[in-house]
């Protein structure tokens, strides 16, 4: 029982990883999604209306991180410098240099130099065109993707915490706790979620935390049933009984013996929670009850696409980015489901596993 022995993955986990890796589509989807997310996390470096670094009169500045007043660069206003302003630009370039990101627009930068009407079509200046306020669509998709995914991550994490805790308590203790808990959940899940979200979102000034909180009120419900069922089953397993007979306290038994059983079901459920969170956020934004105006959001882009049918690049971009993101998540979910499916593990590793005959036979002696 040396430390490195304990850190080693258990054989089941290793076999699951193996199955997941062999599931080509899911494996590549995970990589691609991870890459896209890493890419979007660095959005400020890729698409920004401020230079990444610059030198002015021999001194270094990092406008991406620090706000400098315009007066610093020979301007007249004490407000934050607008590096896209021709005057400021000229000043800086005369006395130094600036390093711009590849896309010199942020998600809320209004490009006033566009020739012709907005929304303007894709071109070399705006790769995916602009929306009806002259904002760069690529930048908005990039930031919107990041916002959607982080939002979904936070919501999923919160749902898992709540769902596992509530479902686990119901399943493990059973009896009255379970009975009343289930009835409460039945009532709670009977509420029309989207309408409630709309009503609540119109009562308060919606920001991302409010939305997160409101959606968290409902998103854990789906998980409770699964976790509760797993706990109900696991508390009657013989090794759980053995742990009780050893005098271990409930919290230890739950953590060490029961929870790992429920984690399989929970993990399989995660991608669906995730896609659910993204679509709900998009739907709210589309209806205009979601994030405050100006936030980069895919739902808002969908709405713009609907309102500007003459500018198909809006709708097409929104559709493609959403469908790619959701498809990747569904593929990952499929892979996870297969990796945790014991039957799948059996059949997919038959060739690599000599003792199959022994396992079939071993079952003979079980009563």
């Amino acid at each position: 029982m040396t430390p490195n022995r304990r850190q080693r993955l258990s054989p089941i986990t290793r076999r699951r990883l193996q199955v997941f890796r062999r599931h080509g589509r899911a494996y590549w989807s995970l990589w691609l999604f991870g890459l896209l997310f890493a890419f979007s996390l660095a959005a400020e470096l890729i698409s920004n209306d401020k230079p990444i670094v610059m030198q002015y009169q021999g001194e270094w500045y990092v406008p991406m991180l620090v706000d400098y007043p315009e007066t610093e660069f020979g301007g007249f206003l004490p407000t934050t410098a607008d590096y896209r302003d021709p005057f400021v630009r000229e000043q800086i370039e005369r006395h130094g240099w600036m390093l711009w990101p590849p896309v010199p627009f942020s998600y809320q930068t209004l490009d006033r130099d566009i020739q012709g009407p907005v929304p303007s079509p894709p071109g070399s200046r705006h790769w995916l065109g602009t929306d009806d306020q002259g904002r760069d669509v690529f930048a908005r998709v990039l930031y919107g993707f990041r916002l959607s995914v982080t939002f979904a991550l936070a919501l999923t994490a919160g749902s898992i915490l709540l769902g596992v805790f509530i479902g686990g308590a119901q399943g493990y203790y059973g009896g009255k706790i379970d009975l009343f808990g289930q009835r409460l959940i039945e009532i709670w899940s009977g509420l029309p979620v989207l309408f409630l979200l709309i009503i609540l979102a119109s009562l308060v000034e919606p920001n991302i935390w409010w939305l997160l909180g409101i959606m968290l009120l409902f998103s854990w419900l789906g998980l409770v049933d699964i976790v509760r069922a797993e706990f109900l089953r696991a508390r009657n397993l013989e090794y759980v009984k053995a742990a009780r007979a050893m005098g271990l306290p409930s919290r230890l038994i739950m953590r060490r013996h029961v929870l790992p059983n429920a984690m399989v079901a929970t993990l399989t459920f995660i991608p669906f929670l995730f896609t659910g969170a993204i679509t709900t956020l998009t739907a709210l934004d589309f209806l205009g009850f979601g994030l405050p105006p100006g936030s980069p959001s895919l739902g808002e882009l969908v709405a713009q696409g609907k309102n500007n049918l003459q500018a198909p690049w809006l709708g097409i971009t929104a559709f493609l980015s959403l469908s790619v993101m959701l498809s990747l998540l569904v593929f990952i979910g499929e892979g996870l489901r297969d990796a945790f499916d014991p039957r799948h593990i059996m059949t997919s590793t038959t060739a690599a596993r000599p003792p199959l005959a022994a396992t079939t036979q071993a079952q003979d002696s079980q009563p």
């Binding site: 090794y239 053995a242 007979a245 306290p249 230890l252 038959t350």
Partner: protein, 527 residues
């Protein structure tokens, strides 16, 4: 004896990928004859039967010739197979709990079989179904036709399975461990029934079993298999009287033997229960008075001395396991439980958890009682680490090694995982997990009934050694009197939660007072 046997396998082999599960098996079943394939788990006996009928999962390869009633089974089309299985060849599986569809009544399932193979419908099918149920000696046939599988006992279900298998009057019946999941008394009845049906219908019977002594009375010829190879074959009588292979001899000898070590004369009282009973509340129907509670164990008193083994005997459903669980307060109960100097029934919470160290339990199922996610060392040391947080990791490792040594397992298996061990080894791990807490009472809930006979014998010897070494008291639960006799000083016979009799082991076995005990003794082939 006819010239061509009814069913024949020649140079029959089964491969899974690179591994050979069965190699070069030769086997003949004549009409009206019973042939038994005997071997321990993993010997390839079920795989042979399944392989011969083409029922193995994809990825397996079958070679050699197999013929049934003159037809080459290797060349049958899918359609011909379907006609043959359930038509000319009947099959009975081991597990009567899962081989019936829980969503249909018995009658419906029987009629379904008749409709598919014989085209019987309506009243004709119903009449034939009744006949079949009567043929397998099931009582109250009319009620049974409308019953659901869960309302039947294991033995009854297995009888229904047999009825289905003989519905089309097969020429060959293959029974794969037909009695392993059943109570001893029921085992005898089912085997006798199969025997009688074979004679009446003139079928060939291929009986697969791990228990050589069980098939002794029923088989005409026996094939002994070990690790996929045919070790010995021959007429049953000569095989039992003059076994050639060492392995056959080992199987024949694999009967629990020996007696418990005598108790020291003044051994102190460790556990006693007075007016002890277990009841379960039934759910209260709406607007009606609640029904009387279900009495799982009726009021009883028992005593257990230090170093003594009390055997608790009874069929499944008699309340043995409930009694054991309730005695160590894993289930609520009524009445007094005295353990050492304490009233166990009045302890609660933290005090009870601390006391649990001294009362350990080993469960029946060696596959279910170890967490598949923890290494063996973690499993064994779990209770120790909780009850003795003061121990340093090296000290824990040392204690684990000691416990493994106690159960004759090598010390280096601590970092392996349960799935790498056989059933008998797992049971040893479960015993080590209990022993490491230095208990004074060990409850053994059918610890040997899921194991092969040879492994069972070793485990019994181990348990006796451990008892002597640590001065342990055992409460030994079993349905198998042969095992209990080798372990217990005293016996308590339970039936439907009632104590039928209680007393010294040998006396009780020689002169049982109740018919129930007599039946149990008759069923368990005491030698």
């Amino acid at each position: 004896m006819s010239q061509t046997p009814l069913f024949e396998l020649r140079r029959f082999s089964v491969h899974f990928g690179e591994t050979q599960a069965v190699s070069e098996l030769d086997l003949q079943v004549e009409q009206g004859e019973t042939v038994a394939i005997v071997g321990e788990s993993g010997s390839g006996k079920s795989v042979s039967a399944l392989g011969a009928l083409g029922l193995l999962p994809p990825g397996s390869r079958v070679t050699g010739t197999r013929t049934f009633a003159g037809r080459d089974l290797g060349r049958l089309s899918r359609r011909e197979w379907n006609e043959l299985r359930g038509g000319g060849i009947g099959f009975i599986f081991q597990e009567p709990m899962t081989s019936l569809n829980p969503l249909h009544t018995i009658g419906k399932q029987l009629r379904e079989t008749l409709r598919l193979h014989q085209g019987l419908r309506g009243n004709a099918a119903t009449r034939r179904a009744r006949e079949l149920l009567a043929q397998v000696e099931l009582p109250r046939v009319d009620e049974l036709m409308a019953a659901w599988p869960h309302q039947l006992s294991g033995g009854q279900r297995q009888r229904v399975m047999i009825a289905m298998a003989i519905a089309n009057e097969p020429q060959l019946l293959i029974a794969d461990e037909p009695t392993t999941a059943l109570d001893v008394t029921v085992q005898r009845q089912v085997l006798a029934l199969l025997d009688e049906l074979r004679q009446r219908l003139g079928m060939g019977l291929l009986l697969i079993s791990h228990d050589l002594n069980l098939v002794r009375r029923h088989a005409d010829r026996v094939v002994v298999m070990q690790q996929g190879k045919q070790v010995e074959t021959g007429p049953a009588r000569t095989l039992f009287e003059t076994p050639q292979a060492a392995y056959t001899r080992q199987l024949i000898d694999a009967v629990p033997s020996g007696r418990p070590r005598p108790l020291p004369p003044q051994s102190e009282l460790l556990l006693s229960a007075r007016d002890f009973s277990v009841t379960f509340k039934r759910p209260k129907p709406l607007l009606r008075p609640s029904p009387p509670a279900f009495v799982a164990v009726e009021p009883l008193s028992l005593e257990l001395r230090r170093g003594e083994t009390l055997g608790v005997v009874g069929e499944s459903g008699s309340g043995k396991s409930t009694l054991a669980s309730a005695l160590i307060r894993l289930l609520p109960s009524h009445g007094e439980i005295h353990f050492a100097d304490q009233r166990l029934d009045q302890l609660g919470g933290e005090a009870l958890r601390r006391q649990r160290r001294a009362l350990q339990i080993v469960f029946q199922d060696p596959y279910g009682s170890l967490s598949p996610r923890l290494s063996v060392a973690d499993i064994i040391s779990e209770g120790l680490r909780f009850h003795h947080p003061e121990l340093t990791p090296p000290e824990v490792t040392e204690r684990v090694a000691e416990a493994l040594h106690d159960v004759d397992l090598p010390a280096d298996c601590g970092h392996r995982y349960p799935h790498e061990f056989s059933g008998g080894q797992r049971q040893r791990i479960a015993i080590a997990r209990a022993l490491i807490l230095k208990p004074r009472l060990l409850i053994l809930d059918e610890p040997t009934s899921a194991l092969d006979r040879t492994v069972q014998k070793q485990l019994i010897e181990l348990l006796r050694d451990v008892q002597a070494k640590h001065d342990l008291s055992y409460l030994f639960i079993s349905h198998d009197l042969a095992v209990v006799r080798a372990m217990a000083h005293r016996i308590l016979v339970l039936k439907d939660g009632k104590v039928m009799e209680q007393g010294d082991c040998e006396t009780l076995l020689h002169s049982p007072r109740t018919a129930y005990t007599q039946a149990l003794i008759a069923a368990s082939s005491l030698t």
